[in-house]
């Protein structure tokens, strides 16, 4: 059985949701505390959403110094899968496991609503269950979701196919504004070069249950496997 560690920071608030979504696909999911130094044999690490350390200083800026992050770094360096959702994505950027940064939304307000995104890269540890180009409706809920990176970095991400999720442009008939936060290149999620570390702003764990009228996010969890598919 797959061991999935859900890291809890003080201020995490989607930790229980991520745990339930992982359990739903049959994983052995458990919490690890930010002060822990080991991952208890985890095959996969989830960094859940929330407001670690109250987002004080900058979203994710303090969490990256938590003791557990050294274990997460080692796990990622060894090719182990890591998914950061929302605040987890912010922490991955702050910890330099992913390039770029997430800044205050362009509209300056918190944005909570469903968005349409396209799965652009399926050769990652968390999107292999989707068809390339699959269109998903997932909720976003964040104040700091505007992805930015240096022009060279953006070019590299695009050239290497590391944009995992992209907000659907308005020209394609989505009823939503194309991009809820002003992200560069409409980026909603990216991967590292190996595809084992993925960070996304939308919340698939909130759309992993048909009872809630939304099952589009389930693929992130059914994709989970100890091995990373090769690109």
């Amino acid at each position: 059985m797959l061991n999935v560690a859900v890291v809890r920071f003080p201020g995490s608030n989607c930790d229980g949701d991520a745990l339930r979504a992982a359990e739903q696909v049959g994983a052995n999911a458990y919490f690890v505390w930010h002060r822990d130094t080991g991952l208890d044999g985890a095959d996969i690490v989830l960094l859940p959403g929330g407001f670690s350390y109250g987002d004080y200083l900058r979203a994710g800026a303090i969490a990256r110094f938590s003791p557990i992050m050294q274990a997460v770094q080692r796990h990622a360096a060894a090719g182990g899968p890591v998914l950061g959702i929302c605040n987890g994505f912010q922490i991955l950027c702050e910890a330099h496991l992913l390039p770029g940064a997430l800044l205050r939304n362009a509209g300056l307000t918190f944005v909570s609503k469903p968005v349409d995104v396209v799965v652009e890269q399926t050769a990652t540890a968390f999107t292999s269950a989707y068809e390339p180009g699959a269109r998903l409706r997932l909720p976003v809920a964040h104040g700091d979701g505007r992805y930015v990176a240096a022009p060279d970095t953006l070019r590299l991400l695009e050239a290497e196919g590391r944009v995992v999720l992209r907000y659907v442009p308005s020209s394609e008939g989505s009823p939503f504004q194309p991009n809820p936060n002003g992200s560069a290149n409409h980026i909603a999620g990216i991967a590292n070069g190996l595809g084992n570390v993925v960070g996304i702003m939308p919340h698939p764990e909130r759309a992993a249950d048909s009872m809630l009228g939304a099952g589009d996010g389930l693929g992130f969890f059914t994709s989970m496997d100890a091995k990373v598919p090769s690109p």
């Binding site: 201020g11 505390w33 609503k113 809920a141 909130r206 992993a208 009872m211």
Partner: protein, 770 residues
């Protein structure tokens, strides 16, 4: 106990350097002669300044309910589902499978009037603590807001700041906002209303009450340090706002949702592990009210050493420490041998738990500071013996005259164009601008989010769900407090029932002006009579709530606003019914009777510039039949949609169902024929009257016969009004020999853009409060 023993037990001396108690000082503490006289008699001496502060807080309207208690006692508060009625931090109702729901609504009006961001944020923080101190995990928040018209810059500033404050706090703690209401009327310009409701789930076996027990048990202060913020917040909430209120800004507390989240997790862990005897939030009047109320509930005394309370700054006096309303603090009672375990749990959540006193057997509320007893008051009397007032009540002649009047001006626009104008009215228009700033999907249990009749969440691990709503049409209450009070409960219950859920119980937030004015107290008494009658008729007991008086400013008193928060049980989540039309070809039916009552309507207010007329009476039996019908029809899967018919009347309800949810790809059209509906009712009243006990529903063609049959057996009038049309089609209406038509896309645009268009104004400072 002999009287001399009492005298000895209540000896206390002034804290060195504190001011002498003079008549001026007594007045500054908002205590009148009767109240002060009772204090002197109770103590057998002049109080110390510290004691004066304690009495001032606990005998404030906010804490003592001294003007409202006799009226509140008339509410029905019992029932087979009631686990905890009024008097605790939150009410609790029994749910299936060993679950229970704790819920409560509270106001934070005055702080929000002077500091909208922090005022609103700390309002959310306080209500969350009220719920999780019962052992319940908060699973939903709702809010009911009122502002002056958005054409005034100050109102836009307050609206933007309050919404941001509510959002930032709830979002950070991770509690989804599942619903709410926002109203705009001139009476709120100087005094906005911010009412926040929290709903929490618990195993009934884990319920904990806030009663201190056991002589020798220890009082522990957990969470944030105590600072000089919010001193006399409870008294501030108990006076009218004035030009000087701006100077009260330093009395508004500052919220820290991050600490709140830690406090929430630590508290629930302490409660479910059985480590503590009792727990209470240090809310209004801080340490004073939490300790005194816990002692009084348990019939014990307490002794606190204020020098032990962790403070933010040096040199705080016992007076300041007792009355500080610094946020994110809890008071615990525990057996001495469990303290180290408790401290370990708190430390894991990065919190400190500090012993600051103990439970005593002598019934005295005693405070020491560095060895000096600075307060010693008979504890039960401190909490219970505040004078209770029975103010004069007399209806304002002007109110009576308004009710008897009719509009004198011609309509601003034609009957058909009035629909667009009403959909563009901020009070009716979509509140998407508001709820998109609130996380509504965290906790992954949201079944119906904001924007429908009521929010619906499922209870994880079970098949059932809860429906939650807050409602009040304050215009109706202003015109006719009794019928308006009934209408607030009826509308809440209709909203719950429209989702398919059975209304279970009520929490209320009673926002009124100065109760010492007979016309205000009349409104209060009559509105409460209406609420009580409706709650009895619907079998939805009142399990708690909050009274907010003195909502007055130099621009006058607010419209009386008794906000009703209601919980409903959806036995099976998959039976939920959405608000919006679902599929072309479905039949549209109008449930309930239309008499064309326009008194107090949005149509008369917005289109004929007239607020008045006799408000529609609420037939409680008809309401109850409608609720039962909606629940039964949902259980039998007969409904595709159901939407309450309220502000704006029938046509607005139909249009709202047609424009679709905020995230629908397109609106739908509809073809409606009302020629045979309520024959004899004038067209204005037919389209825009606000008769109660009505809903607009849609059903698949194959379900219509069964639905109509159900209406007959349940005694609910039903009219088959037409069909749902094509996506982005026209909304067409035949009535009164006329044919009206509107483009559904135009209606959708109007409805969803009304508030954003007004808030795009450059003076809206989006960074307010940071």
């Amino acid at each position: 106990m002999t009287s001399s023993a009492v005298a000895g037990a209540t000896d206390a001396s002034p804290f060195p350097g504190e001011r002498e108690v003079t008549p001026e000082l007594v007045r500054e503490h908002n205590l009148n002669e009767l109240e002060y006289g009772r204090i002197v008699e109770m103590l057998g001496r002049v109080p110390t300044l510290t004691e004066l502060g304690i009495f001032s807080a606990l005998w404030s309207e906010h804490c003592s309910y001294k003007h409202s208690k006799p009226v509140l006692r008339t509410f029905p508060t019992t029932g087979s589902r009631v686990v905890q009625g009024p008097g605790e931090n939150a009410g609790v109702l029994r749910l299936p499978e060993g679950w229970a729901v704790a819920f409560k609504i509270e106001s934070h009006n005055h702080p929000s009037a002077v500091e909208p961001y922090q005022g609103a944020a700390t309002g959310v923080g306080g209500i969350l603590r009220d719920v999780f101190t019962m052992g319940a995990r908060p699973v939903a928040v709702l809010n009911s807001l009122r502002f002056g018209p958005l054409d005034l810059p100050r109102n836009r500033y307050l609206f933007a700041g309050v919404v941001r404050g509510v959002g930032d706090y709830g979002n950070c703690v991770g509690i989804p906002t599942l619903g709410g209401e926002v109203g705009f009327a001139p009476g709120y310009t100087g005094n906005p209303l911010v009412n926040a409701m929290c709903v929490g789930l618990l195993r009934e076996a884990d319920l904990i009450r806030a009663a201190a027990q056991g002589g020798g048990n220890i009082l522990l202060c957990v969470g944030a340090r105590t600072g000089r913020d919010g001193i006399h917040g409870a008294s501030f909430a108990s006076e009218e706002l004035s030009e000087k209120s701006e100077a009260r800004r330093p009395q508004v507390q500052v919220g820290d949702p991050f600490t709140e989240k830690l406090l929430l997790e630590a508290s629930l862990e302490l409660i479910t592990s059985g480590m503590i005897v009792a727990i209470q939030d240090m809310g209004a009047a801080g340490l004073t009210s939490s300790s005194a109320e816990m002692a009084a509930r348990g019939g014990v005394g307490v002794e606190i050493d204020t020098a032990l309370v962790p403070t933010r700054e040096e040199g705080m006096t016992p007076y300041e420490i007792l009355l500080s309303e610094s946020q994110e603090r809890m008071l615990l009672v525990a057996e001495p041998e469990r303290i180290s375990e408790i401290q370990a749990v708190c430390a894991r959540w990065e919190l400190t738990a500090t012993a600051i006193g103990r439970v005593t057997d002598d019934g005295i509320y005693r405070v020491r500071h560095q060895g000096v007893v600075v307060a010693a008051i008979p504890g039960q009397r401190l909490v219970d013996d505040c004078p209770i007032y029975h103010p004069a009540a007399r209806e304002d002649d002007a109110a009576r005259a308004r009710r008897a009047a009719v509009p004198s001006r011609a309509p601003k626009v034609d009957l058909g164009d009035a629909l667009e104008l009403l959909l563009d009215t901020p009070a009716i228009a979509s509140k998407r601008w508001v709820y998109e700033q609130y996380d509504s999907t965290v906790q992954a249990s949201t079944v119906i989010g904001p924007g429908g009749d009521a929010g619906v969440l499922r209870v994880p691990g079970t098949g059932f769900g809860l429906a939650v709503t807050v409602d009040c049409n304050s215009r109706l209450v202003a015109l006719d407090p009794y019928e308006g009070g009934k209408a607030a409960v009826a509308e809440a219950a209709r909203n719950i029932a429209c989702t398919g859920a059975l209304p279970l119980g009520v929490t209320d937030c009673l926002n009124f002006g100065n109760p010492e004015k007979p016309e205000v107290f009349y409104q209060f008494r009559e509105a409460c009579r209406g609420i009580a009658d409706a709650c009895r008729a619907f079998d939805t007991p009142v399990t708690g709530g909050n009274v907010s008086f003195y909502n007055e400013s130099p621009t006058g008193a607010i419209d009386p606003t008794p906000t009703i928060g209601m919980i409903g049980l959806l036995e099976r989540v998959e039976h939920r019914v959405p608000s919006h039309f679902a599929a072309p070809g479905d039949e549209i039916l109008i449930l309930g009777e239309t008499t064309g009552a326009l008194g107090g309507s949005a149509y008369w207010t917005e289109i004929r510039d007239f607020v008045g007329g006799p408000v529609p009476g609420v037939d409680l039996e008809a309401e109850r039949r409608l609720q039962r019908l909606l629940v039964a029809a949902a259980e039998q899967r007969l409904l595709r949609s159901a939407h309450d018919c309220a502000e704006g009347g029938l046509l607005v309800a139909i249009a709202e169902a047609a424009v679709g949810s905020a995230y629908a790809r397109e609106p739908v059209g509809a073809a409606i024929d009302l020629e045979a509906c309520s024959v004899g009712v004038a067209l204005e009243g037919l389209l825009y009257g606000e008769d109660q006990a009505r809903a607009v529903v849609s059903a698949a063609p194959e379900s219509v016969e069964a639905l109509v049959g159900l209406c007959r057996t349940q005694g609910v009038p039903v009219f088959r009004a037409g069909h749902v049309g094509a996506a982005s089609g026209m909304l067409e209406l035949k009535a009164g020999g006329r044919l009206f038509s509107w483009g559904s896309r135009t209606l959708r645009q109007t409805y969803f853009e009304a508030i954003p268009r007004r808030m795009q104004h450059p003076d809206v400072d989006r960074s307010a409060g940071e």
